[in-house]
């Protein structure tokens, strides 16, 4: 196990509404999400003395601006560049800062106008550099490559050829995450199921990806609070401990094949983290009760599940198709609906959701579970309860969760969370 395993915890989580058009700045969204997370922890804003965030190419306000706006005085702040894989890496970074005494209560946030501001999937000049970084002197732009849908589409096409997976398996991912969103009052697709017919009849974005293979761009901010174990006991909710993970493991781009690693499309960065996350956290795949995988596209959870070692290469799509990722199955995944069906947040909402699930306080509709805030659930999916339970039990709560961040060849992060501070 790592020297900081179980030494820090997530104690508060919060977000704004998921908007198609917020009509608000990232500053306004950010301060609301931070306020909600701090209130959820049972702390005062004045207790927060550390803040860190990530953004994509200047698309948001930073920690200092948020703290100024909230009237805070911080002892530590840092904002990094990045989208997917940033949240889990910032958790690793925050664990070190808390243990080292640089600050006592730290907020991690992401605030974005992903729909009305800078769109990752937008074919605009303000768009990002390609996610798979296939760019010789800007040549990618000249051959019409600007979006992650194109890069991951290339990876997916080769993956299909190698393993015989295809449309049906991608549809299974879209429908699984959508099913979970239908139970989540916060999700864009709350109470709106997706049929195979809906999925197949939607328009093409980048073949092999149709519309519902792609995430749902949103204006939204999410935040959570971390603190040291000894500070965490007496707060409002059960603390959710950081057991370990991996932070921005990298690999080379399969588009160039420079040769040392002989990279194939399915050999992305998480392949180099599968033993690392287990060694650090002291748990293995069989201990994971629920998980989330960065679903920028239906394809990306597949290569992460495989890369992090949950199933063998080529098997993840069939795993989804067999229903193993749905609520009440072996390992429910992406239980909020996440990027495909709740709304796109560059990964942070999956950590927020995991903390809620491991607390036993998934925010179900009040019709289904009026006392969810006290951890009382009916586990009746028909009624609308969305709390995960431990597989094979009537009503035991999950104990250990895994968050996989991002499925690109060149960066990937992971995080293991638990309601217990030790894996034993």
């Amino acid at each position: 196990m790592g020297v900081l395993t179980g030494k820090t915890a997530i104690v508060g989580v919060g977000e704004t509404t998921y908007y198609r058009d917020a009509g608000r700045t990232t500053l306004s969204l950010g301060v609301e999400a931070i306020r909600n997370a701090v209130k959820d922890a049972g702390l005062e804003l004045s207790d927060i003395d550390g803040m860190t965030s990530y953004q994509a190419g200047g698309d948001s306000h930073g920690s200092n601006e948020m703290a100024q706006s909230l009237g805070m005085q911080l002892n530590y702040s840092l904002d990094i560049m990045g989208g997917g894989s940033s949240t889990e890496a910032l958790v690793a970074h925050a664990a070190g800062l808390l243990a080292g005494g640089y600050c006592n209560n730290i907020v991690i946030f992401r605030s974005m106008r992903g729909r009305t501001g800078k769109r990752m999937g937008g074919q605009t000049p303000s768009g990002p550099v390609p996610a798979v970084a296939i760019n010789t002197d800007g040549e990618a732009l000249r051959i019409g490559v600007t979006t992650p849908a194109q890069n991951f589409g290339i990876a997916a096409m080769r993956y299909f050829k190698e393993y015989g997976a295809g449309t049906k398996q991608l549809a299974a991912v879209a429908m699984t995450h959508r099913y979970h969103a239908t139970l989540n009052p916060r999700a864009f697709f709350y109470k709106k199921p997706l049929t195979l017919e809906d999925y197949i009849s939607a328009r093409w974005v980048s073949k092999p990806f149709r519309l519902f293979d792609c995430c749902l761009e949103m204006d939204v901010a999410c935040a959570f609070v971390m603190t040291r174990k000894e500070m965490a006991y007496d707060l409002k909710h059960p603390p959710i401990y950081i057991l370990g993970g991996s932070a921005r493991t990298m690999s080379e781009s399969p588009a160039y094949n420079p040769g040392r690693l002989n990279t194939a499309v399915h050999h992305h960065a998480s392949n180099w983290a599968s033993r690392r996350w287990m060694g650090m956290s002291g748990v293995t795949h069989k201990d994971i009760d629920t998980a989330s995988f960065y679903d920028a596209f239906t394809f990306t959870p597949l290569i992460q599940m495989e890369g992090y070692g949950f199933v063998d290469h080529g098997e993840a799509g069939f795993w989804y198709e067999e229903g193993h990722g749905r609520l009440d199955a072996r390992m429910p995944v992406n239980t909020s609906g996440s990027h495909l069906s709740e709304g796109y947040t560059h990964g942070i909402q999956m950590v927020v959701e995991m903390a809620r699930q491991l607390r036993g306080r998934a925010d179900c509709s009040t019709d289904a579970c009026p006392d969810w805030e006290k951890g009382i659930h009916c586990f009746d999916r028909e009624k609308g309860c969305r709390q995960v339970k431990k597989y094979g039990t009537q009503d035991s709560l999950p104990e250990v969760g895994f968050c996989g961040g991002w499925g690109s060849p060149t960066t990937s992060s992971s995080l293991v969370l638990s309601k217990f501070s030790s894996s034993n």
Partner: protein
């Protein structure tokens, strides 16, 4: 206003590559120490870290490693959709990203492993882009 397609900006490390494309005879960097090719051009060999490199004329042939058919236009590509973006594995063992041309962009016409050969598109006074066409 219709937006035009952006052009690559050569660097000192990549200039010989762009020059070779301009003369319609692509050259690739090869290591004199371990004799392996690499791409994109860079300061040293990623296989053995030697800095003793040379430029060698490529065969111009390769196979499609993977591809995607883009149905939404990048800036400047409004009139081109759908268009094919491919990763081609060259005979020399390196891969590069390119457009696949000379074929109707439907999956039945393109496949992983398909043989392709280079075509040169002179897009400006100084820049020629390599594209690949099924043989």
């Amino acid at each position: 206003m219709t937006q035009s397609k952006p052009l690559p900006t050569p660097t000192p490390e990549t200039q010989p590559y762009w020059d070779s494309c301009k003369s319609h005879a692509m050259k690739l960097p090869r290591c004199k120490s371990c004799s392996q090719f690499h791409f994109y051009p860079r300061a040293l060999c990623p296989h053995c870290w030697s800095m003793d490199l040379e430029w060698v004329t490529a065969s111009g042939k390769g196979k499609i490693y993977s591809y995607v058919i883009s149905h939404r236009p990048a800036p400047g590509f409004q009139d081109d959709v759908p268009y094919i973006i491919g990763v081609v594995e060259l005979d020399e063992g390196v891969r590069l990203m390119t457009n696949i041309v000379g074929v109707i962009p439907e999956p039945k016409n393109i496949w992983v492993g398909m043989d392709v050969s280079v075509e040169y598109e002179d897009v400006s006074e100084t820049i020629t882009l390599p594209t690949y066409k099924p043989i």
